[in-house]
Amino acid sequence: MTIRKKLVLAAILVLALALALFAVAGCGGDSGSGDASTGASTPFKVGLAAPFTGDAATYGASHKAGAEIAMEELNAAGGVNGGQVSLELGDDLADAKQAVLVAQKFIDDTSIVVINGHMFSTPAIAAGAKYETAGLPMITPSATNVDITALGAYIWRICMTDAFQGEGLAKYSVSTLGKQKIAIMYDSSDYGRGLADAFESGVTGTGGTVVGKQQYTGGDTDFKSQLTKLKGAGPDLLFLSGYYPEGSKIAQQARELGMDVQMLGSDGYASDELPKLGGAAVEGMLISTFFDYTSSDPAVQKFVDAYKAANDGANPDWFAANSYDVIMLAAQAAKNAGKNDRTAINDALGTIGTYQGISGPITFDENGDVVKPLTIVIVQDGALTTAPQQPTP
């Protein structure tokens, strides 16, 4: 064997390994708790679709933890229409290909009546098309890309869209904070890009200037090339559209490059993990969020207490809160319909009116989208607290 042949063989193996990694991580797990229902009543089985392993596993963990609180609360009150609530996990790895496999598994399991997920826009779009065809209602707690609910009548969402958030944050940056020269750094996923585009057009529309726009790929660790370019443009605000694991590194690397600029993070940054990872570099960062766990609303505090008791005192993030809301909302729809059935639940969602969730009032528009108020938090002494300047409605 010559060196060349060996190296070609090795190179092929490297590529095969890269593919294998995706495949290996792709096995979902079952952790459906809750026994089969007693008596004749149909169980209320929820398909929980999220990344439970891989790089985005921390979001899946929040999603599952929030759903479990809802399940326990409902079961303690006798279940839904007399049927026990149980959760069936589907690990989509935040990946479109894997999401389609999860969707097929859920669709084939006829005891599943509603899907709580998928969490991220790219897998939600891929899997949503399958649920729509199969007539299985999917309620996404956190996927924000505009196109998702356009898939059809079985697709619902209880967080605000990227278009609405982007526009709101642009108005907040220019009008409320008074920033004029704005730079954007975004994750090239459907979510990061969609939000960045909406933000950009919002900034231009409200009289600000976008002085630089750079993208990165999720999972990247080095952002200095992009930040160096943005630094040259001299922005007075840096908008970060993406998720906190990359965000903490972006903030740290910006400081290492000597960039001293106010940062505004999208809702993907709203996690207690951000200050843990980012340390001093993320102090003072403003972040958009959909759930404020310091709220005095008794329903919120009841959830926060139950969550903390079940999760070693950790505070719930908005992913957990929305996941809880999805199940409670679907349960309400099933109760209104009087039976645990896919189509009946979907019809009842359309006529549910205003449901008061812990993440805010949920009223669906004709697309299956909601409009909720935008909340801004700030990183202060290593924790997220309500920011002094809030967006004007």
Binding site: S225, G232, G279
Partner: protein
């Protein structure tokens, strides 16, 4: 101009880290002609063990455990020792039994070890990113990185430290392999194991030592990488491992100065490519793989590798 300078510094930094891992690849390949895919994972363990030694307590298997709270320099040396021994154990258990088997068997075993180590790390440390503690020597009291600027190019003290460590490690290693008895035994074993054994070289010992040194270099790279990017996570070794493999091929696999040069070049090409090619940041990883394909097509022995075909 200062932007180009900054981009070069950015690339140099990544390049040094690639170079350190590439040395591990290149040494092991040089001696047993095995691409040790587990190097990325040894690198990851290097970062985690460095963190473990530096913090007062850490969560392992979901339980909080007290830790020695050492300084960075001591921590990284311990990490190098532990990971070096891990490398030797892996060689003994997963590669030595397959040394006379078809080469593919050993490669598959290496991939298996790599996936096993990733999963073990997830079980021990959890799937979340673990923050890397600030290093007081390189951090101001306010928690900001200590840095200076030359002509608008911002350089942190830690970056200077990483470059110095990389260069010193390469020089020492090259000296060791080129100028010492044990190094000669390594080179002899690389050329012909059977004849070396007849000349009185303990080939098993030489191979174990190669794994020890290569893995320790991986751990050093991991500890530094953790410091540069302020975190460690179970899948962190995958991408740098692939890049280091490319760096090793680029420089001429089996060649230590080649791995160093390959790492630096790859880091700089990546940084400049992602800054100046249209939509370059999107193709950052693709740039590296294009280089791999070009090198394999036009100069498979690499920049510094010998062009002589190896024994059958």
């Amino acid at each position: 101009m200062s932007e180009l300078g900054q981009q070069l510094v950015n690339g140099l930094m990544i390049g040094c880290l690639y170079a350190l891992i590439a040395v591990g690849y290149t040494m092991v390949y040089g001696i047993i002609e095995l691409i040790n895919f587990a190097f990325g994972e040894l690198f990851m363990f290097g970062a985690f063990i460095t963190i473990m030694m530096m913090v007062p307590e850490i969560s392992l298997f979901g339980n909080t455990v007290n830790m020695p709270h050492l300084n960075f320099f001591l921590a990284i040396i311990i990490a190098m020792a532990v990971v070096g021994i891990m490398g030797v154990v892996i060689e003994r258990l997963a590669y030595r039994p397959l040394r006379n088997a078809p080469r593919l068997a050993a490669l598959i075993s290496a991939i298996g070890v790599s996936i096993l180590l990733q999963n073990v790390a997830q079980a021990i440390f959890g799937s979340q990113q673990v923050p890397f503690p600030d290093i007081p020597l390189f951090t101001t009291a306010a928690g900001a990185p200590k840095a200076f600027a030359i002509g608008g190019v911002q350089i942190t003290y830690f970056q200077v430290f990483v470059v110095v460590v990389t260069v010193v490690a390469m020089l020492l290693l090259n000296f060791y392999v080129r100028r010492t008895r044990m190094g000669r035994a390594m080179r002899a074993s690389a050329q012909d194991k059977r004849t070396s054994a007849l000349m009185g070289v303990n080939v098993n010992k030489v191979i174990a030592l190669t794994f020890l040194i290569g893995s320790a270099m991986g751990a050093l790279a991991g500890g530094l990488y953790g410091g540069v990017y302020h975190a460690a996570w179970p899948l962190m070794g995958f991408n740098p491992g692939l890049k280091a493999f490319i760096a090793a091929v680029l420089g001429g696999i089996g060649n230590i100065p080649g791995a160093f040069l390959g790492g630096l070049l790859l880091g700089i090409i990546e940084a400049l490519g992602s800054a100046y090619l249209p939509m370059g940041s999107q193709y950052r990883d693709a740039i590296a793989f294009v280089i791999l394909i070009l090198i394999l097509s036009f100069r498979p022995s690499g920049l510094l590798g010998s062009t002589v075909s190896q024994k059958a």
